[in-house]
Protein backbone atom coordinates (compact mmCIF):
# COMPACT_ATOMS: atom_id res chain seq x y z
CA UNK A 1 0.00 0.00 0.00
CA UNK A 2 1.65 3.20 -1.12
CA UNK A 3 0.76 6.33 0.87
CA UNK A 4 1.41 9.86 -0.34
CA UNK A 5 2.32 12.65 2.06
CA UNK A 6 -0.16 15.50 2.27
CA UNK A 7 -1.60 17.95 4.79
CA UNK A 8 -4.73 18.11 6.86
CA UNK A 9 -5.75 21.67 7.66
CA UNK A 10 -8.29 22.11 10.46
CA UNK A 11 -10.15 25.34 11.09
CA UNK A 12 -12.41 25.71 14.13
CA UNK A 13 -14.44 28.90 14.19
CA UNK A 14 -17.77 30.46 15.02
CA UNK A 15 -20.41 29.10 12.65
CA UNK A 16 -21.21 32.54 11.29
CA UNK A 17 -17.67 32.64 9.87
CA UNK A 18 -18.08 29.38 7.97
CA UNK A 19 -19.22 31.04 4.78
CA UNK A 20 -16.20 33.32 4.75
CA UNK A 21 -13.88 30.32 5.14
CA UNK A 22 -15.60 28.35 2.39
CA UNK A 23 -15.41 31.39 0.12
CA UNK A 24 -11.65 31.52 0.67
CA UNK A 25 -11.38 27.80 -0.11
CA UNK A 26 -13.26 28.16 -3.36
CA UNK A 27 -11.24 31.23 -4.30
CA UNK A 28 -8.19 28.93 -4.11
CA UNK A 29 -10.02 26.27 -6.16
CA UNK A 30 -10.21 23.84 -3.26
CA UNK A 31 -13.55 22.05 -3.48
CA UNK A 32 -13.02 19.09 -1.15
CA UNK A 33 -13.72 19.63 2.54
CA UNK A 34 -15.62 18.22 5.48
CA UNK A 35 -17.30 20.15 8.26
CA UNK A 36 -19.40 19.62 11.35
CA UNK A 37 -20.79 21.55 14.30
CA UNK A 38 -18.81 21.53 17.50
CA UNK A 39 -18.81 23.28 20.83
CA UNK A 40 -15.77 24.84 22.33
CA UNK A 41 -14.10 27.30 24.54
CA UNK A 42 -11.41 29.79 23.75
CA UNK A 43 -10.30 33.35 24.21
CA UNK A 44 -13.40 34.76 22.54
CA UNK A 45 -15.77 32.80 24.69
CA UNK A 46 -18.17 32.41 21.78
CA UNK A 47 -18.67 28.78 22.61
CA UNK A 48 -21.65 26.48 22.80
CA UNK A 49 -24.48 25.34 20.62
CA UNK A 50 -27.65 27.31 20.07
CA UNK A 51 -28.81 30.08 17.78
CA UNK A 52 -25.91 32.23 16.59
CA UNK A 53 -23.39 30.83 19.04
CA UNK A 54 -22.41 27.57 17.40
CA UNK A 55 -18.89 26.66 16.38
CA UNK A 56 -17.99 24.72 13.29
CA UNK A 57 -14.92 22.66 12.46
CA UNK A 58 -13.76 22.51 8.86
CA UNK A 59 -11.20 19.97 7.70
CA UNK A 60 -9.40 20.06 4.39
CA UNK A 61 -6.91 17.58 2.98
CA UNK A 62 -4.77 19.64 0.62
CA UNK A 63 -1.31 20.07 -0.83
CA UNK A 64 1.44 22.27 0.57
CA UNK A 65 0.90 25.19 -1.83
CA UNK A 66 -2.79 25.53 -1.20
CA UNK A 67 -2.19 25.07 2.50
CA UNK A 68 0.26 27.97 2.60
CA UNK A 69 -1.85 30.39 0.63
CA UNK A 70 -5.13 29.52 2.34
CA UNK A 71 -3.65 29.64 5.84
CA UNK A 72 -2.07 32.97 4.94
CA UNK A 73 -5.33 34.47 3.71
CA UNK A 74 -7.33 33.26 6.68
CA UNK A 75 -4.74 34.61 9.10
CA UNK A 76 -4.63 37.97 7.41
CA UNK A 77 -8.33 38.56 6.82
CA UNK A 78 -10.12 36.65 9.57
CA UNK A 79 -8.05 36.27 12.74
CA UNK A 80 -8.79 39.74 14.08
CA UNK A 81 -12.55 39.69 13.58
CA UNK A 82 -13.64 36.16 14.35
CA UNK A 83 -13.39 33.50 17.02
CA UNK A 84 -11.17 31.13 15.07
CA UNK A 85 -8.23 28.77 15.38
CA UNK A 86 -6.32 26.86 12.72
CA UNK A 87 -3.87 23.97 12.84
CA UNK A 88 -2.17 21.60 10.45
CA UNK A 89 -1.34 17.93 10.76
CA UNK A 90 0.73 15.74 8.43
CA UNK A 91 -1.43 13.15 6.73
CA UNK A 92 -1.01 10.31 4.27
CA UNK A 93 -3.44 9.42 1.50
CA UNK A 94 -3.73 6.77 -1.18
CA UNK A 95 -5.19 8.71 -4.10
CA UNK A 96 -3.10 11.87 -3.99
CA UNK A 97 -4.73 13.08 -7.20
CA UNK A 98 -8.03 13.50 -5.34
CA UNK A 99 -6.67 16.26 -3.11
CA UNK A 100 -5.84 19.62 -4.68
Amino acid sequence: MKFYETNLLTITCEALAQKTVLDILSKHHVSGYTFYEVEGNGSKNLHGKGINTKNVKIEIVLNRDNLESIAEEITRTMFSDFAIILYVVDAKVIRSEKFA
Binding site: L16, K19, G50, I51, R76, T77, D81
Partner: protein, 351 residues
Protein backbone atom coordinates in the same frame (compact mmCIF):
# COMPACT_ATOMS: atom_id res chain seq x y z
CA UNK B 1 -57.03 48.45 33.41
CA UNK B 2 -54.20 50.94 34.08
CA UNK B 3 -50.73 50.44 32.62
CA UNK B 4 -49.37 49.01 35.85
CA UNK B 5 -52.11 46.42 36.15
CA UNK B 6 -51.69 45.56 32.49
CA UNK B 7 -47.95 45.05 32.95
CA UNK B 8 -48.66 42.93 36.02
CA UNK B 9 -51.23 40.77 34.26
CA UNK B 10 -48.94 40.43 31.24
CA UNK B 11 -46.15 39.38 33.56
CA UNK B 12 -48.29 36.52 34.82
CA UNK B 13 -48.77 34.87 31.44
CA UNK B 14 -47.03 31.57 30.63
CA UNK B 15 -45.11 33.20 27.78
CA UNK B 16 -43.42 35.77 29.99
CA UNK B 17 -43.00 33.45 32.96
CA UNK B 18 -41.32 30.70 30.94
CA UNK B 19 -39.02 33.32 29.44
CA UNK B 20 -38.08 34.34 32.96
CA UNK B 21 -37.64 30.69 33.93
CA UNK B 22 -35.16 30.39 31.06
CA UNK B 23 -33.25 33.41 32.35
CA UNK B 24 -33.20 32.00 35.87
CA UNK B 25 -32.01 28.62 34.60
CA UNK B 26 -29.13 30.30 32.78
CA UNK B 27 -28.22 32.41 35.80
CA UNK B 28 -28.01 29.46 38.19
CA UNK B 29 -26.00 27.63 35.52
CA UNK B 30 -28.55 24.89 35.11
CA UNK B 31 -28.03 22.48 32.22
CA UNK B 32 -31.61 23.10 31.10
CA UNK B 33 -31.77 23.68 27.37
CA UNK B 34 -34.13 23.09 24.47
CA UNK B 35 -32.41 20.77 21.98
CA UNK B 36 -31.05 22.65 19.01
CA UNK B 37 -33.23 20.87 16.46
CA UNK B 38 -36.31 22.05 18.33
CA UNK B 39 -35.13 25.62 18.78
CA UNK B 40 -34.14 25.77 15.11
CA UNK B 41 -37.48 24.40 14.04
CA UNK B 42 -39.65 26.64 16.20
CA UNK B 43 -38.92 29.94 14.40
CA UNK B 44 -39.76 28.24 11.10
CA UNK B 45 -42.98 26.98 12.59
CA UNK B 46 -43.85 30.35 14.14
CA UNK B 47 -43.20 32.18 10.87
CA UNK B 48 -45.27 29.65 8.93
CA UNK B 49 -48.14 30.06 11.38
CA UNK B 50 -47.92 33.87 11.30
CA UNK B 51 -47.70 33.85 7.52
CA UNK B 52 -50.63 31.50 6.96
CA UNK B 53 -52.76 33.56 9.29
CA UNK B 54 -51.77 36.83 7.63
CA UNK B 55 -52.37 35.43 4.15
CA UNK B 56 -55.83 34.17 5.02
CA UNK B 57 -56.76 37.52 6.51
CA UNK B 58 -55.57 39.35 3.42
CA UNK B 59 -57.77 37.14 1.29
CA UNK B 60 -60.78 38.59 3.07
CA UNK B 61 -59.58 42.16 3.44
CA UNK B 62 -57.66 42.61 0.22
CA UNK B 63 -54.49 44.58 -0.42
CA UNK B 64 -56.14 47.97 -0.89
CA UNK B 65 -55.63 49.43 2.57
CA UNK B 66 -52.18 47.90 2.90
CA UNK B 67 -50.16 50.21 0.68
CA UNK B 68 -50.04 53.35 2.81
CA UNK B 69 -49.10 51.55 6.06
CA UNK B 70 -46.44 49.59 4.17
CA UNK B 71 -44.84 52.72 2.73
CA UNK B 72 -45.05 54.42 6.10
CA UNK B 73 -43.35 51.47 7.77
CA UNK B 74 -40.55 51.44 5.19
CA UNK B 75 -40.00 55.18 5.48
CA UNK B 76 -40.03 55.09 9.27
CA UNK B 77 -37.69 52.11 9.39
CA UNK B 78 -35.15 53.80 7.11
CA UNK B 79 -35.35 57.12 8.97
CA UNK B 80 -34.95 55.38 12.28
CA UNK B 81 -31.92 53.41 11.08
CA UNK B 82 -30.22 56.66 10.05
CA UNK B 83 -31.24 58.27 13.31
CA UNK B 84 -29.86 55.36 15.37
CA UNK B 85 -26.58 55.68 13.51
CA UNK B 86 -26.20 59.37 14.33
CA UNK B 87 -27.00 58.76 17.99
CA UNK B 88 -24.58 55.87 18.29
CA UNK B 89 -21.74 57.51 16.36
CA UNK B 90 -22.07 61.04 17.74
CA UNK B 91 -23.32 60.55 21.27
CA UNK B 92 -22.27 56.97 21.88
CA UNK B 93 -18.83 57.35 20.25
CA UNK B 94 -19.06 53.89 18.72
CA UNK B 95 -16.91 53.19 15.67
CA UNK B 96 -18.46 53.15 12.19
CA UNK B 97 -18.87 49.38 12.10
CA UNK B 98 -20.53 48.99 15.48
CA UNK B 99 -22.69 52.02 14.83
CA UNK B 100 -24.07 50.73 11.55
CA UNK B 101 -24.52 47.22 12.91
CA UNK B 102 -26.44 48.46 15.95
CA UNK B 103 -28.41 50.97 13.90
CA UNK B 104 -29.69 48.29 11.55
CA UNK B 105 -30.31 45.78 14.34
CA UNK B 106 -32.77 48.29 15.80
CA UNK B 107 -34.05 49.40 12.42
CA UNK B 108 -34.85 45.80 11.54
CA UNK B 109 -37.74 43.85 13.02
CA UNK B 110 -37.96 40.84 15.26
CA UNK B 111 -40.19 37.97 14.18
CA UNK B 112 -40.10 36.38 17.62
CA UNK B 113 -41.20 39.67 19.21
CA UNK B 114 -43.97 39.83 16.61
CA UNK B 115 -45.17 36.33 17.60
CA UNK B 116 -45.25 37.28 21.26
CA UNK B 117 -47.19 40.41 20.29
CA UNK B 118 -49.84 38.34 18.52
CA UNK B 119 -50.19 36.10 21.55
CA UNK B 120 -50.42 39.20 23.81
CA UNK B 121 -53.24 40.62 21.68
CA UNK B 122 -55.03 37.28 21.79
CA UNK B 123 -54.92 37.38 25.58
CA UNK B 124 -56.45 40.88 25.41
CA UNK B 125 -59.15 39.61 23.06
CA UNK B 126 -58.10 41.97 20.29
CA UNK B 127 -57.22 41.28 16.63
CA UNK B 128 -54.89 43.02 14.19
CA UNK B 129 -54.76 43.57 10.45
CA UNK B 130 -53.50 40.55 8.51
CA UNK B 131 -51.34 42.65 6.22
CA UNK B 132 -49.01 43.50 9.10
CA UNK B 133 -47.43 40.12 8.50
CA UNK B 134 -46.62 41.17 4.97
CA UNK B 135 -45.09 44.38 6.31
CA UNK B 136 -43.02 42.25 8.68
CA UNK B 137 -41.70 40.31 5.70
CA UNK B 138 -40.87 43.39 3.64
CA UNK B 139 -39.34 45.27 6.55
CA UNK B 140 -36.98 42.48 7.55
CA UNK B 141 -34.19 43.00 5.00
CA UNK B 142 -34.65 46.74 4.45
CA UNK B 143 -32.56 48.27 7.19
CA UNK B 144 -29.84 45.64 6.84
CA UNK B 145 -29.39 46.47 3.23
CA UNK B 146 -29.32 50.17 4.00
CA UNK B 147 -26.81 49.77 6.81
CA UNK B 148 -24.53 47.58 4.77
CA UNK B 149 -24.71 49.87 1.78
CA UNK B 150 -23.75 52.82 3.97
CA UNK B 151 -21.00 50.88 5.74
CA UNK B 152 -19.46 49.91 2.41
CA UNK B 153 -19.60 53.51 1.25
CA UNK B 154 -18.00 54.69 4.47
CA UNK B 155 -15.25 52.09 4.26
CA UNK B 156 -14.52 52.95 0.63
CA UNK B 157 -14.17 56.59 1.58
CA UNK B 158 -11.86 55.68 4.46
CA UNK B 159 -9.72 53.55 2.18
CA UNK B 160 -9.50 56.30 -0.41
CA UNK B 161 -8.41 58.85 2.18
CA UNK B 162 -5.75 56.60 3.65
CA UNK B 163 -4.55 55.73 0.16
CA UNK B 164 -4.02 59.39 -0.59
CA UNK B 165 -2.12 59.82 2.67
CA UNK B 166 -0.02 56.77 1.86
CA UNK B 167 0.79 58.06 -1.62
CA UNK B 168 1.95 61.36 -0.22
CA UNK B 169 4.02 59.55 2.32
CA UNK B 170 7.41 58.51 0.90
CA UNK B 171 7.52 55.48 3.24
CA UNK B 172 4.56 54.14 1.27
CA UNK B 173 3.91 50.93 3.18
CA UNK B 174 2.61 48.34 0.77
CA UNK B 175 1.40 45.93 3.38
CA UNK B 176 -0.87 48.52 5.03
CA UNK B 177 -2.23 49.22 1.61
CA UNK B 178 -2.99 45.55 0.99
CA UNK B 179 -4.69 45.32 4.34
CA UNK B 180 -6.99 48.19 3.56
CA UNK B 181 -7.93 46.59 0.29
CA UNK B 182 -8.68 43.32 1.97
CA UNK B 183 -10.67 45.24 4.56
CA UNK B 184 -13.02 46.49 1.90
CA UNK B 185 -13.19 43.34 -0.14
CA UNK B 186 -14.43 41.70 3.04
CA UNK B 187 -17.49 43.88 3.21
CA UNK B 188 -20.01 42.23 1.02
CA UNK B 189 -21.61 44.07 -1.83
CA UNK B 190 -25.00 45.66 -1.57
CA UNK B 191 -26.44 43.22 -4.07
CA UNK B 192 -24.95 40.23 -2.31
CA UNK B 193 -26.54 41.19 1.01
CA UNK B 194 -29.88 41.91 -0.59
CA UNK B 195 -29.81 38.51 -2.24
CA UNK B 196 -28.88 36.72 0.96
CA UNK B 197 -31.48 38.58 2.99
CA UNK B 198 -34.37 37.73 0.74
CA UNK B 199 -33.36 34.11 0.28
CA UNK B 200 -32.86 33.83 4.03
CA UNK B 201 -35.07 31.20 5.61
CA UNK B 202 -37.14 33.70 7.58
CA UNK B 203 -38.26 35.63 4.52
CA UNK B 204 -38.80 32.53 2.40
CA UNK B 205 -41.01 30.75 4.89
CA UNK B 206 -42.86 33.94 5.84
CA UNK B 207 -43.59 35.14 2.31
CA UNK B 208 -44.29 31.56 1.20
CA UNK B 209 -46.79 31.02 3.99
CA UNK B 210 -48.50 34.35 3.33
CA UNK B 211 -49.04 33.29 -0.28
CA UNK B 212 -50.16 29.80 0.73
CA UNK B 213 -52.54 31.23 3.33
CA UNK B 214 -53.93 33.53 0.68
CA UNK B 215 -54.36 30.68 -1.81
CA UNK B 216 -55.92 28.08 0.45
CA UNK B 217 -58.19 30.41 2.44
CA UNK B 218 -59.94 29.57 5.68
CA UNK B 219 -61.44 26.36 4.40
CA UNK B 220 -58.26 24.89 2.98
CA UNK B 221 -56.54 25.84 6.23
CA UNK B 222 -58.96 23.81 8.32
CA UNK B 223 -57.11 20.44 8.27
CA UNK B 224 -53.89 22.08 9.49
CA UNK B 225 -55.49 24.61 11.84
CA UNK B 226 -54.74 22.48 14.87
CA UNK B 227 -51.01 22.58 14.24
CA UNK B 228 -50.65 26.05 12.78
CA UNK B 229 -53.11 27.97 14.93
CA UNK B 230 -54.20 26.13 18.06
CA UNK B 231 -50.69 25.05 19.04
CA UNK B 232 -49.19 28.49 18.39
CA UNK B 233 -49.37 29.71 22.00
CA UNK B 234 -47.79 26.52 23.35
CA UNK B 235 -45.00 26.63 20.79
CA UNK B 236 -44.12 30.21 21.73
CA UNK B 237 -43.81 29.13 25.35
CA UNK B 238 -41.29 26.44 24.42
CA UNK B 239 -39.34 28.83 22.26
CA UNK B 240 -39.26 31.49 24.95
CA UNK B 241 -37.67 29.06 27.40
CA UNK B 242 -34.74 28.85 24.99
CA UNK B 243 -34.76 32.61 24.34
CA UNK B 244 -34.68 33.14 28.09
CA UNK B 245 -31.72 30.81 28.44
CA UNK B 246 -29.79 32.63 25.70
CA UNK B 247 -30.75 36.03 27.11
CA UNK B 248 -29.77 34.89 30.60
CA UNK B 249 -26.31 33.88 29.42
CA UNK B 250 -25.94 37.32 27.85
CA UNK B 251 -26.75 39.19 31.06
CA UNK B 252 -23.11 39.10 32.16
CA UNK B 253 -22.20 40.93 28.98
CA UNK B 254 -24.50 43.81 29.83
CA UNK B 255 -21.88 45.40 32.03
CA UNK B 256 -19.49 45.24 29.09
CA UNK B 257 -21.78 46.99 26.62
CA UNK B 258 -21.68 50.12 28.78
CA UNK B 259 -24.41 52.34 30.22
CA UNK B 260 -24.90 54.27 26.99
CA UNK B 261 -25.96 51.22 25.05
CA UNK B 262 -28.16 50.03 27.90
CA UNK B 263 -29.96 53.35 27.80
CA UNK B 264 -30.16 53.19 24.02
CA UNK B 265 -31.70 49.69 24.19
CA UNK B 266 -34.55 51.01 26.29
CA UNK B 267 -35.10 54.54 25.04
CA UNK B 268 -35.04 53.71 21.33
CA UNK B 269 -37.73 51.00 21.39
CA UNK B 270 -39.86 53.21 23.62
CA UNK B 271 -39.65 56.18 21.27
CA UNK B 272 -39.90 54.16 18.06
CA UNK B 273 -42.78 52.13 19.42
CA UNK B 274 -44.82 55.14 20.47
CA UNK B 275 -44.19 56.84 17.14
CA UNK B 276 -45.35 53.65 15.43
CA UNK B 277 -48.56 53.45 17.44
CA UNK B 278 -49.34 57.11 16.81
CA UNK B 279 -48.61 57.06 13.07
CA UNK B 280 -50.54 53.87 12.45
CA UNK B 281 -53.51 55.03 14.49
CA UNK B 282 -53.50 58.13 12.35
CA UNK B 283 -53.38 55.93 9.25
CA UNK B 284 -56.52 54.17 10.42
CA UNK B 285 -55.22 50.88 11.81
CA UNK B 286 -57.24 49.14 14.53
CA UNK B 287 -56.28 49.14 18.22
CA UNK B 288 -54.46 45.84 17.87
CA UNK B 289 -53.01 46.76 14.48
CA UNK B 290 -51.46 49.92 15.89
CA UNK B 291 -49.86 47.90 18.69
CA UNK B 292 -48.34 45.46 16.17
CA UNK B 293 -47.20 48.33 13.95
CA UNK B 294 -45.56 49.97 16.95
CA UNK B 295 -44.00 46.66 17.92
CA UNK B 296 -42.46 46.29 14.45
CA UNK B 297 -40.63 49.58 14.95
CA UNK B 298 -39.84 48.99 18.62
CA UNK B 299 -38.41 45.53 18.07
CA UNK B 300 -34.80 44.73 17.32
CA UNK B 301 -33.65 41.73 15.31
CA UNK B 302 -31.63 39.13 17.20
CA UNK B 303 -31.99 35.99 15.12
CA UNK B 304 -31.61 37.25 11.56
CA UNK B 305 -29.35 40.22 12.42
CA UNK B 306 -26.31 38.30 13.64
CA UNK B 307 -26.45 35.91 10.70
CA UNK B 308 -26.51 38.80 8.21
CA UNK B 309 -24.21 41.22 10.01
CA UNK B 310 -21.51 38.72 10.92
CA UNK B 311 -20.70 38.17 7.23
CA UNK B 312 -21.59 41.64 6.02
CA UNK B 313 -19.86 43.78 8.69
CA UNK B 314 -17.46 41.33 10.38
CA UNK B 315 -15.61 44.18 12.08
CA UNK B 316 -18.63 44.95 14.25
CA UNK B 317 -18.68 43.25 17.64
CA UNK B 318 -21.60 40.81 17.86
CA UNK B 319 -21.48 40.97 21.66
CA UNK B 320 -22.81 44.53 21.38
CA UNK B 321 -25.74 44.01 19.06
CA UNK B 322 -26.81 40.56 20.26
CA UNK B 323 -26.60 41.46 23.94
CA UNK B 324 -28.54 44.69 23.65
CA UNK B 325 -31.21 43.33 21.30
CA UNK B 326 -31.80 40.01 23.01
CA UNK B 327 -30.71 40.72 26.57
CA UNK B 328 -32.35 44.12 27.07
CA UNK B 329 -34.70 45.20 24.30
CA UNK B 330 -36.53 41.91 23.81
CA UNK B 331 -37.54 41.45 27.47
CA UNK B 332 -38.34 45.15 27.72
CA UNK B 333 -40.58 44.96 24.66
CA UNK B 334 -42.56 41.89 25.67
CA UNK B 335 -42.87 42.78 29.34
CA UNK B 336 -43.16 46.58 29.38
CA UNK B 337 -43.66 47.99 25.89
CA UNK B 338 -46.56 45.77 24.84
CA UNK B 339 -48.76 46.94 27.72
CA UNK B 340 -47.62 50.55 27.24
CA UNK B 341 -48.37 50.54 23.52
CA UNK B 342 -51.66 48.79 24.11
CA UNK B 343 -52.71 51.48 26.60
CA UNK B 344 -51.62 54.28 24.29
CA UNK B 345 -53.33 52.70 21.31
CA UNK B 346 -56.57 52.21 23.25
CA UNK B 347 -56.38 55.80 24.44
CA UNK B 348 -55.73 57.20 20.97
CA UNK B 349 -58.54 55.14 19.46
CA UNK B 350 -60.95 56.48 22.05
CA UNK B 351 -60.16 60.14 21.43
Amino acid sequence: MGIIELIQSNLLTPVVLFFILGIVAARIKSDLKIPEAISEFLPIYLLAAIGLHGGMEMRTTGFANMLIPLLAAIALSLLMTLNHYQILRRLGKFNIFDSYALASTYGAVGAVTFSVGLSFLKNQGVTSEGFLTAILAVLEPISFVLAIFLTNMAVSKMVQKKRQTLQKDPQNDLSTYAELESGTSHNKSFYHVLRESITGKAIVILLGSIIIGYLVGKEGFLPIKLLFEDLFAGAIVIFLIEMGIIAGRRLDDIKNVGPFLVGFSIVIPTVNGIIGVAVSTFLGLSVGGAVMFGLLLASASFIAAPAVLRTAIPQAKPSLYITSALGITFPYNIIVMLPIMFTISSYLHNL
